[in-house]
Every structure is written in structure tokens, then in C-alpha cells.
Symmetry: D2
Subunit: 343 residues, 4 copies
Amino acid sequence: MIRVAINGYGTIGKRVADAISAQDDMVISGVTKTKPSFGCDLAVRKGYPLYCTYDDEQKINAFHDAGYTCHGGLKTLLGVSDVVVDCSPGKHGAANLEKYKNAGIKWIFQGGEKHEMTGLSYTSCANHEQNLHAEGTRVVSCNTTGLSRTLIPLLESCGEISVECTMIRRAADPGDSDKGPINAIKPVLKVPSHHGPDVMSVEPRIKINSLAVAVPTTIMHMHAITVTLPQGHGMTTESILALWKSRPRIIIMNGGETGITTTAEVMEFARDIGRTWGDLHEIFVWEDGVKLVDNTLYYFQAIHQESDVVPENVDAIRALMGTESDWMASVRKTDEAITRMFS
Amino acid sequence: MIRVAINGYGTIGKRVADAISAQDDMVISGVTKTKPSFGCDLAVRKGYPLYCTYDDEQKINAFHDAGYTCHGGLKTLLGVSDVVVDCSPGKHGAANLEKYKNAGIKWIFQGGEKHEMTGLSYTSCANHEQNLHAEGTRVVSCNTTGLSRTLIPLLESCGEISVECTMIRRAADPGDSDKGPINAIKPVLKVPSHHGPDVMSVEPRIKINSLAVAVPTTIMHMHAITVTLPQGHGMTTESILALWKSRPRIIIMNGGETGITTTAEVMEFARDIGRTWGDLHEIFVWEDGVKLVDNTLYYFQAIHQESDVVPENVDAIRALMGTESDWMASVRKTDEAITRMFS
Amino acid sequence: MIRVAINGYGTIGKRVADAISAQDDMVISGVTKTKPSFGCDLAVRKGYPLYCTYDDEQKINAFHDAGYTCHGGLKTLLGVSDVVVDCSPGKHGAANLEKYKNAGIKWIFQGGEKHEMTGLSYTSCANHEQNLHAEGTRVVSCNTTGLSRTLIPLLESCGEISVECTMIRRAADPGDSDKGPINAIKPVLKVPSHHGPDVMSVEPRIKINSLAVAVPTTIMHMHAITVTLPQGHGMTTESILALWKSRPRIIIMNGGETGITTTAEVMEFARDIGRTWGDLHEIFVWEDGVKLVDNTLYYFQAIHQESDVVPENVDAIRALMGTESDWMASVRKTDEAITRMFS
Amino acid sequence: MIRVAINGYGTIGKRVADAISAQDDMVISGVTKTKPSFGCDLAVRKGYPLYCTYDDEQKINAFHDAGYTCHGGLKTLLGVSDVVVDCSPGKHGAANLEKYKNAGIKWIFQGGEKHEMTGLSYTSCANHEQNLHAEGTRVVSCNTTGLSRTLIPLLESCGEISVECTMIRRAADPGDSDKGPINAIKPVLKVPSHHGPDVMSVEPRIKINSLAVAVPTTIMHMHAITVTLPQGHGMTTESILALWKSRPRIIIMNGGETGITTTAEVMEFARDIGRTWGDLHEIFVWEDGVKLVDNTLYYFQAIHQESDVVPENVDAIRALMGTESDWMASVRKTDEAITRMFS
């Protein structure tokens, strides 16, 4: 059993913990919180050993004072773990990396950190093999993960692709009531944006640029994608849909037939199929919103920013530990366990 | 086993079906859809026999053509059921009532129908006894249910209360992308509104009026409530909180301590505790938002419009069938099964 | 000509400056900004002398470096003014008050400051006389101003009134894209809230309490109001409407007849009548949303948070300077000039 | 004086009427409404003769009954006009066209109608000359107008361009409280969308495709644009900015320097400069959001959907009447009059 520490039991951390816990080859050694809060109740409820983010006796005792059993600081947790998944809220990356290396265990960062820091990035469908037995890696962001899921198969089929993507991003998560805007569209003025090119951290052969805006919604990101295929690509709209249907973690549905025509109905679908938190780990592509015109492919995809990277973290653990060298096998194992758990 | 038909497998119907299915004394005899759609897949996935809302061969065959096994029309379904829960989208009440009476089975309508039609209404904590062995009843709306949960205990403690309530209502459900407003507040110009007085359909001794507005949010209603207690009431802010904590289906949390200060964080809490669809069957009251000033009690409560009536439907079935005369016993049984199922 | 300084040329300051500039008995002596920004262009465009909020040579020079003519710091501005309207963004009240007193000129604060600091508050219809020749005062907040407009006439007609008000507040101004929530309702957990009782700072005979929530809209506040009239009040719904129609700065329209049924249409009406910034200085009351039931009056009013206090500041200047002792005469003069200017 | 009829005095009609009225070479002969409403008061207030959309005595009399002077039906209005601007709410195009031809006057439709119906379309900067002395034309939509303003200069400089555009559209106008979504992103599943290619109705040499989504905001559309310039284009980011600055109806501002970083602040800027309704007739381009990378130009532009076509209608009238053959001269005349009127 691989012993996995979750450093930062928040939006992503709580989901990764459950996904790991559902696997039969790994176990949660502990999760960290900075201070007593409702997240501690949740960890206790789930049976995850609780640790303090800091190795500071006073801060550790604060948990006891609040009635929680705290098993120690991060250092203690790392000592009883084989790999740590860093789900801390950013800006702590470099400092944490140092700690993980000192503890001599493997580590996984999330897409909020830069590729430059880890030197290696991960997406199941893109470069699982490249990550085998590595000391540590970075699971790319929700947006990059989503782009990889649909672009990698196209690249593999066509040999080369060139991509322009506009990312229409939810401005805040559902549980965040502080951030706006309430009634505005906010462009990311640094153009082209960093979002699209991050795909090249897992697959450098994809030529991609992006523009990004934030909009007043909380539930999903949307990508409006234009792909230029090479001459003689031999693809059709239908063959592209068939290709995607053959790949994991992509859901393809027809908006006209199902009535699922906005991200609201996509999220309602996710609630219906019973995943915890109403999550949708898959990328959602509208069948009737895909069209190949000569060499140019147009499509939309919706991304559940809170959860699409969750199964990727599980696969990344197997890659680092070297326990499963076939990415498809890992994905199948991960997803079956998640589905079994949640429905 | 009580055989329960769900007429209208939509937002409320799908939730009631699952809640019933989780009980050990009742079973879903079937659910109806007007035509093939994603809801049919969901019913099949859950193992609920699928029926057509209409007794029309052509419409029934449309299900077969779409690849679903349809067991017949509503009439057939009623014939194999002991009670029907009407979750149809309104305006069909009177016509449906006729059908249910003709089938000779018991029936439950939802709060969208008027009390005048059914002549009897139901809330677990208000008038379970009064509904015992009745032919049929109406489970009151999400708002009325929410008001009953906190007001009935006050009435029982004080003998009489007078209430003014402002209802700040979500303008559309999460899965509904058509309705607005996007950036406006919409008052219900008929004042006082019908919402509050509906409480009197289950407890006529509560004197209550209300004002209502719709606002651009999808997740919960909020009630801002002012209760005038009688002279010599003997209550304190603390004793009122203790009273509510002793009652079922009320969650009381401290906003300042937990960081749960808006409906966004309340819904995140519901997702965290793992209820399907992220539902919250309980009414949420902020401990630090309750204050008794002389004879006037001020408090806020948040209502999950999609789910607070769900367990009430289960209890109402037991009342009509006469299988459990103690409301608290029914509530306990219902809620334990729901919790067991969902977490 | 009364020389008026505007300390803080922002959302309120820019509006007050224009309203003052439209009068024939007062003139803008200057407006302050903390640093060069678009607001400076606006001041220049309008012909208002530009000053720096700080008496700091370096900060003053920053304006020159950016190409603006800056006439000096606040101290210099106060030296050429008879009265200063403080429209600074809060938290600077006490420090500014000291400066104004040292300069020996009269001062007006806005509702963001506490009544305790100024010891005197102002609403045209409530206590103009009481403010005559005072050293300084505080124009109450947009909400308090709105409440005074409709409640003072009721008090004057009935002798005593008791009020409960729920304030459904816009969470951010239209030009503010940072603040949320995007999809939530946020209750003000301190109950009863401070909003309603602030009316007593201008009219202590009104007994009033309030509850408040913030909602995801930017354009207007809404008040849901319940007034208890004394026995033998002699009023009817119609006589109350007639009373309000006879008072200034209240617009009464019928939602059913005009199609103006939400704050969106109210703001569109304001844009139609051509006020700069689409402002609505008046309180908007829906005729068909007013109803007197026995002793209890129910009504809604919509408040344009950015502008309803603007004409009040003009009147307050006349009160402090003692140049117009009749509040109605001042209001008439103010409003005619504003209307002449804007349409 | 050119006598102009406005058929449909609504969101666009009321703005076009004011813009025409501000010119010294044209006059409003009348405006139509379907029935008595607040729009009639507005027309009266502005001094525009009021007509009924229908030539139906009963409907005409309804205006008189409501206290308005109605000068007759549409037919009567067309009889005293030289040109009619059709601002009716769509679906009436073909029927109206027939009426206009029968009346023997010139006509202008808006972008809601198809190019196929009119056979000719209009944008000031694209094809004014082509519209000279034509019988009628169609002023293209707000989106197409916006695209033309920035793309035509690029085309003229480079000889050929190829464009991909993602349109992030406001889902409802500010005064519309019915439409949603409240919390979702809605893709236009027909891909590529019709929006971009409509530019080719005024300039067929531009190669363009688009994708479109609707988002929960009311104030502006946003375009995320990628332009491929031909080899040897000779442009730089700076020369493109200089090019646009030399063209009318484009505002270029630096988001980082001005703090205008979202559509909320853009609209606040428009309110500040004092245009009626807070309109912004110009396209807003962020200087720091423009970047040329090799042959690919990236930029964002914000479009005020309610008003950018307003001055175009004025110019189109001059084109049809043949009174001004130089588009730049017409634009200058139009815009000076609008600015004089509004500020």
C-alpha cells in the first residue's frame, strides 16, 4: 500500500483524498490543516488522520484545544508517507518542495505552481511513461488537463496540430462568496495568456496559444477551441467524435437531444449521476458543437475546475511509484474505483 | 411494503424517489416521464420501473422507439401502487387528482398546488397526526416547510406568536439556464405575499405575513424573520437556540466560527457531508444571526429549495397509510435511512 | 456664492460636485484625488480645480508629472473654501474632522461615518431646521435617506410609527468588478442590523429595526418594509400614496401598468429620463406594491445607492450656511437645478 | 432637412432618434409604438410625434384613450418621411419591407435581419460609398459593427487578413429582467457561429470565423480576437495601435494605467463622460491587451451592444440620401453632434 499525505485539505485536497482512499493500492497517511475549522470535522468523519501544516507546537496544540486529535506537524506526517500531494493554496511551493526533498519522499504539486519549479509535469493521457519513477512532478491545471484530454488524441492521429483557444473562466468557485465580478467580463490582458501554452509542458509538439476572460459564474470553465489540422489529415467531424469517444475522461453528449445546452445543465447531469460534491471528473464536449471545416476544427468543452485533475493525481502517484507503467491501465483502475465509491 | 408511484420524475420527483427507495417499509412501484429524455436513463440506472405520464399508446411507444422499456401509462402505474406522489410541474393538479381518486389510491401533492384543492396540508412537525389515514394531502412548499420547522417549536413554547417574514428567493434552480434576472431584484408586488400565510394551512394558530423578492442566485432561499413573542414568554436567545437544536431537520452553526457566512458556504457544507446532489434537507440557521430583543426575535434561515420537502414526503406517506402515528418516530426513521444512503 | 470643496472625487464626490455646480448659489472651489488617475481627467473636463488629498509636496508633484495642474494639497483647498463635503472612502473621518476644524470651515460627512463622530446628522425632509448654522453635519447613508423619505411623512401624519425593514442590498457598485458574491445571499449576521436604527439619528421618534442581506446585483438596494401605525390612524392605502406623491424625491409608479417590475427596469427608466450616470435621486415606490392591512402597512422601495444622497448634500450646505431655512424651498431649488442640468 | 421615421421606439429606436435629432441635416418625422406605454411619455418629452405601429383605428384610439396624441398609423408616418429606420423587434422584417417599398421611401433595417433580405448591408468604415443612393440597406449588428471598426483598417493596411473570433456575449440587456442564465455559460452550438462571417456582408475580403457563448452579464459583449496577417505585413504592435488610434469610433486605453480592467469599469467610464443612457458608441480596446506575435495578432475589444450601431444609422441615412459621399466626413459630422448633445 502506497502511503499518501495530503498537504492542504481544501477544495482539491479533500477530493484527492477521497479518490485515493477509494483505491486498493494506496491509503491516506494523513491530511493537513493550518488551523481548526470545519475541514477538520470532515477529515475526522472520513477517517483521515489529521496533522498541522506547521511544525509548531503551539499551532498543533490549537487543534487539541478545539477538540480535535492532531497527530503532529507536517514533518511528522511526511515521515510516515511515501508520497505527498501538495494541495496548498499557492505561493508556498518552493518552501514546501525543500521540505519534501528533505523528507526523502516523492511529491506532487498542482497546476498553480510553475513547471519551472518542478521541471516535470503530468497528465495521464500525455506523459505517464515519462513520469515513471520520477522523484516528483506537477499535475497540470484543470484547464491544461482539459485541453490535453481532447488535443493529445488529435495530435496522435494527425502528427501535428496548431491550436487557438479562448478560455471563458468561472471567476470564483461555488463555495467562495468574496470574489466578483457580479456583472462584468474581465479579460486577462496579458496576451496571449499563459493558459494554453502550459499544455506544452506535457506535450511540446502541440503548438498552442490562448486568450482568457473571467465571467460571473461559479460552476465551470468553457473552452472555445479552434484547431488547425495538417494537410491530408484524413479526419472528419465523425471520426474525431469517434476518436474522443474511445478515450477516457471525455463525455460527449448532444445538446439538442438531451437539453444539456449550458454549463448549468452539465452540472445538473453530474449531480444526477451521483458523484460526491456533484463533481464531473470528465471533460464535457457537445457533440453538436463540434465541426470540422476543411482543415479547421471548431469545438467547445466544459471543464469542472474543482475535480477534473482529481483522478490525474491518483495516476501520477502510480507513475512516480512505478507501480503501473501503462497509463490506460492506471486510468481504468482509478476511474472504476471512483465510480464504485460514488454511485 | 408500501408501493409508491412518482408521477413526474423531475427536480423533486427524482429526489423523493431516492429517499423512498432508501426506506425499508416502502418501495418505488414506478416513475413517470412525459417523453424519452435523460431522466429515463437516470430512472433505469436507479432501477425504477419507467412509465409514461399519458395513457396514450403512441406516446408510450415513443419510449420503446428511443430504446427504453416503458411499462405503460399512468393508469397502469396507479393500478400497482398504494400511494402516488404527484411531482408534476403544476397546472395539472385538478386533472390528476381526479385520476388518483378514480384509481382508488392515496395521493400526495406538492406545495405548488393550492391548499384549497387538497383541503389538507402536511408538515412533519406541524400536523402529522391530523393526516393519519387521510385519503390524500399536500406537502407544503419548501418555504412553508422551512418556516414551520422553526416557528412550530416557538408556538408550542409560547402559546402564540406573530410573524413578519421577508423571503429573499433564488430566481431559478441550479439546472435552469433560461430564467433571469441576471442583475436585478424583483419584488413580488402583491403584498403581503402568499408565501408566509401558507404556514397557516398546517398550523392556523400562527399569525404570519410576508414580503418576497427574487434575486439573481440559484442555490438557496433566505428568510429574514421577525417574531413577536407574547408578554411573559420566558424565552432567551439561548433557550430558543437550545429549543431548535432539540428539534429535527434544523442545522444551527456559527458563521463567525465556521466561516459559513453566506448561502455559498452553506451549500459547500452540504456537498462536503456527501448528500446526493449536494442537497441539504435541513433548514440552516446561523447561531450568531439569532437575537431576542425584548419580545422581538430576529433570525435568518437558509432553505435548500430543491430538497427540504423530500423527507417530508416520506413521512406523509406513513401518515396517509397510518403505519406510523408518531411524527418524531417517522422523522427519525426517514432521516436515518437517507443519511445511511447518502454518506 | 458659497465656495465648496469636495474631499474625495469618487463615486459620491463626482456626483455631488456636479449637483453643486448646477446651483446658482454655490461653486466648486476644488476637488481632491489621492493620485493621478482617470478621475483627474474628469475633473479637468468639468472645470473643477484639482487638489491633492495630501499636503505632501512629493504627492502633489506626482500630478504635475502626470500632466495635470494640481493647485496644492487639502490644506490649501480648505483655505479657499467655506464648506467641505467629505466624500473620502471611510476610516479617515476622525483625522479629517480635525483638519476641517483647524481650517475653521464648515464640514459635511457622508453616512459611512458614525453619528457619534459628528454628533449631528442630516436628511432634508427630517431635520433641516435643526442643522441651520451648525458647524458641521453628516448626511445619512443612502439607505437611511431612503427610509426617511417615506417614513417621515407617515410619522408626521400618524404621530408615531413602529417599523421593521429588511434591506436587500446590492453587493457591489456597477463600476466595481472585484467584490462578490457571484451566486449567493449574504446575511448581515449582527441582528438587528445597524441600518434601520440609523433613521433615529435624524428623527428619534421613529421606532425602527432592520435585517440586511447582500445579493449578487450591482444596481439598487431594495427595502421590504412593514410599518405598524397607531390605533385610529385614519389612513388608507390610497391616502398614504397621496401623501407620498405630495412629497419631494419619491417616485411612485405602477409596476403592472408600466412594466417596471424589477430594479432593472427602474434603472432603465432613470437612463431614459436622461440623468447623468443614469442616476435616480428619487426613491422608487411601486404603487401596486403598497398595501395597508388594518394597522400594518406593507411596501417596497428601491434605492439608487450611488445618487439618492446627492441632492441632500446640496441642501445640507444651505442648512449649515444658514442661507435657506425652509427645507422645501431648498429641495425645490436643488432639484430644479439638477433637472435643468441633466435633461 | 431629411425627414426620418423611427419604426419601433425601443432600445435601439430611442437612441437612434436622439442621435438623428442632434444632427442639423435631419429631423424626426415620427416614432411608432405598438401600444400606450412609458415609451410614449419619453417620445412626448423629447418632442417626437407619436404614431401607432399598426394602421388600425382601434389601436390608434387606444393611445388617445391613454391620454397621448397619436398622429396616426405607420402608413401615415411613412407618408411624411423620406427614410424609415426599422427598429422593430425582429420577425417583422419582410412584412415591413413590403410596406416601405409601397410607400416609396428609403429604408434601413438593423442587424437582427438577414443580409439576404436587404441584399445590401452597411458599416460606415467599410462600405459607405457602396450604399450611396441605394433604395435601402441594413446596418449590421453591434458585433459586426465592432469587428469592422478594428478589422477594416487592418485589411486596408495588409491587403488580406484571416480572423478567428470568440464572442463572449452579454445574455440580456440591462433593462431586461426575464432572461438568464443566472449562473452558467451557454455556448452557441452551431459552430462556427454566424456572428463573425456577417462581417463579410460589408467587406467580403475579410476571411473570418467565430465561436460564441452567452454569459451572465448585462452590460457589454467582449471579443477575443486572433488575426493572421499575411507574410511581410510590416506591422508591429505599436503600428497597429497607431493605426486604430487614427480611426474614428475606437477608444484605446491602458488597463494597467487607468484601472479600467473589466467591462464594469468601461461602462463606468462611459457614464463619467456623460453620454445619455451611459452609452459608449465607440469600441473599447485595451492597449495592454494587444500583441502581435510573428504573424498573429491577439486583442480584446468590448462592445456596448445597445449603442455602437447608433451613429452608423445616422451615416447610413446620409449614404442612402446621397447627401454626403465621404464616410469620414459623415462620421465626423455625426459624432460631433452626438458629443455636443450629450456632454
